[in-house]
């Protein structure tokens, strides 16, 4: 069934708003900036957009109908709209939803978008109702990721240098990206000397807070051929949802998170990890990259240190990844930065950081509720190709 959608839909436009530390700009303002850029990038008229999917902003309060409000501000009256909440998995997940909605005949051209304004996050933190983790000071994704890094290092003996190598590689990539938030050169020594945020997680294991927005536009591959830019088809898409560390059904029930999303996406595309030319891996924290390399079948757990330290994620390596610097160095655009970069790599628009003859790109997403019991997470993936 799913195979029938493979290659029939395309991402035709990508965009981001200004991003960085930009206190004072509204979440809506960022969303609209990014949406306009994506519409213009596609060479579409605004009136051709008849589907709107928007990631639920972190600070929602009681604001229902967020996606419909975004549509109203854009002057669009969609026939399909939803506010989606897969955290950082929303970017890829909304593209997958858009394909299904178009295939079902609900709409023709879907705008997927998001924005974050981090300030004032402190207020939001007090709204969480977590009973079993927050009272112990286990707050936010940083704590969950620190536990995940702890277990990775315990189970597989990964040295800190592995995580450092990932951070350093992305920083090198960011130096080729004038828009990146973190461009200051970083050495492995700088990484190893960076302070603990939540031991064993160091400062340079973590992405910066980013205020900004991102967007992309999905339509049929057929319509895409009439538009200005080279067609970037969606060959595969998948998602899966599970808990991390605490599994209510019992610890032994666990399959490695994300493997179902990977199986779906590669199966739908009829490809294997060895067919990938480039990857954009969801990397709000370095342990995420280690996890996805295994979950998406790029290498086995015990091969990760050698795979990474041999430079396989650099432009000279087997799978150049996070070519714009990733969330860690380009900035936390909730995965929309990854979609933008993936699309541009396939189009061949990346200039100094273009991967030669990039034909197939994996984009992954990850997000959820880190400090609820159990911590639940969503995994999502897209395979993009010419």
């Amino acid at each position: 069934m799913m195979g029938s959608l493979s290659g029939r839909y395309a991402i035709v436009g990508v965009g981001t708003s200004r991003f960085g530390k930009l206190q004072g700009v509204s979440t809506m303002g960022f969303t609209l900036e990014a949406a306009k850029q994506a519409i213009e990038d596609a060479g579409l008229s605004r009136d051709q957009v008849d589907g709107v999917l928007v990631m639920m902003p972190a600070i929602m309060g009681e604001q229902h109908g967020w996606a419909a409000r975004v549509a109203a501000y854009l002057g669009v009256e969609p026939t399909f709209s939803a506010t989606m909440d897969l955290g950082g998995a929303t970017a890829c997940g909304s593209v997958q939803t858009a394909m299904a909605a178009i295939d079902a005949g609900y709409c023709h051209t879907v705008l997927c978008c998001f924005a974050t304004q981090n300030w004032p996050q402190g207020v939001a933190m007090q709204l969480f109702g977590s009973e079993f983790q927050v009272p112990y000071g286990d707050v936010g994704a940083i704590c969950l990721m620190a536990h995940i890094k702890r277990r990775q290092q315990y189970d597989y003996g990964y040295p800190d240098e592995l995580y450092g190598q990932i951070a350093v590689t992305w920083r090198q990539h960011a130096q080729l990206n004038p828009e990146a938030q973190m461009r200051k050169p970083m050495s492995l020594d700088d990484y190893m000397r960076s302070r603990w945020v939540a031991e064993p997680l160091r400062l340079f294991d973590c992405c910066p807070n980013t205020d900004g927005g991102g967007a992309c536009i999905v339509t049929s591959a057929e319509r895409a051929r009439d538009l200005a830019k080279p067609v970037v088809r969606i060959l595969g898409a998948g998602q899966s949802h599970s808990s991390e560390i605490i599994h209510p059904r019992g610890a032994e029930q666990r399959s490695l998170g994300g493997t179902k999303a990977a199986t779906m996406a590669f199966g739908m595309a009829g490809l294997t990890p060895s067919d990938l030319d480039v990857a954009q891996i969801y990397d709000a924290f370095t342990p995420r990259v280690v996890h996805d390399l295994v979950a998406y079948g790029i290498c086995a757990s015990e091969e990760v240190p050698e795979f990474v330290t041999r430079g396989n994620l650099t432009f000279a390596g087997r799978l150049p990844s996070n070519t714009a610097g990733g969330l860690l160095s380009e900035g936390h655009l909730s995965g929309f930065g990854h979609i933008r970069e993936g699309v541009r790599q396939i189009r061949g628009e990346c200039g100094d950081r273009q991967v030669a003859d990039a034909q197939v790109c994996l984009v992954t997403g990850y997000g959820g509720a880190p400090h609820e019991a159990p911590p639940t997470v969503s995994y999502s993936a897209l395979i993009l190709a010419r």
Binding site: G122, M125, Q126, F128, G129, S130, E131, F132, Q133, V134, P135, Y136, G137, D138, V139, G140, I142, C143, A146, H147, R150, R151, Y154, R195, W196, V197, A198, E199, P200, L201, I245, I246, H247, P248, R249, G250, A251, A373, P374
Partner: protein, 138 residues
């Protein structure tokens, strides 16, 4: 100036017996009447067999450390004065894993697999947080 208070659990129908037991110095979780699964977090259904029938059984209080972290950069203003503090996930003898603090042990001596036992930290007249310390009994 306002002092920002630490967020304390606000119990609901599913979780109130857990917190009431903790306040009396007992660690209790739901054990499914139909399949025997001991579950965490507390919930209306057994996640293994979907039974709604359960008993709040008293646990041994014995556990081992599954993961531990030391928070140096506070992620919530109420915890600013506590850094560096550990957040530890223990695996209970009965199976479930839960977040807690390890007490009576320097942070740098916490180890995965370390045997620990429950102690009860009375926060105020209504709330007691289960915490764990290195096991004294064998």
């Amino acid at each position: 100036m306002f002092a920002i208070e630490k967020p304390l659990p606000r119990a609901n129908e599913d979780t109130a017996p857990y917190w009431a037991a903790a306040h009396k110095g007992e660690l209790r979780l739901q054990r499914c009447d139909d399949c025997g699964h001991v579950r965490f977090p507390p919930s209306a259904l057994c996640p293994r067999c979907l039974s709604q029938h359960h008993e709040w059984v008293k646990l041994s209080g014995r556990a081992t450390v599954f993961s531990w972290i030391v928070v140096h950069q506070s992620q919530h203003p109420a915890f600013n004065g506590d850094t560096p503090y550990n957040v530890t996930i223990v695996e209970l003898e009965e199976g479930p894993r839960m977040h807690t603090h390890i007490v009576d042990c320097p942070n740098d001596q916490i180890r995965i697999g370390m045997p620990v036992e429950v102690v009860f930290d009375r926060v105020n007249d209504e709330v007691t947080l289960p915490k764990f310390r290195p096991a004294k009994s064998k």
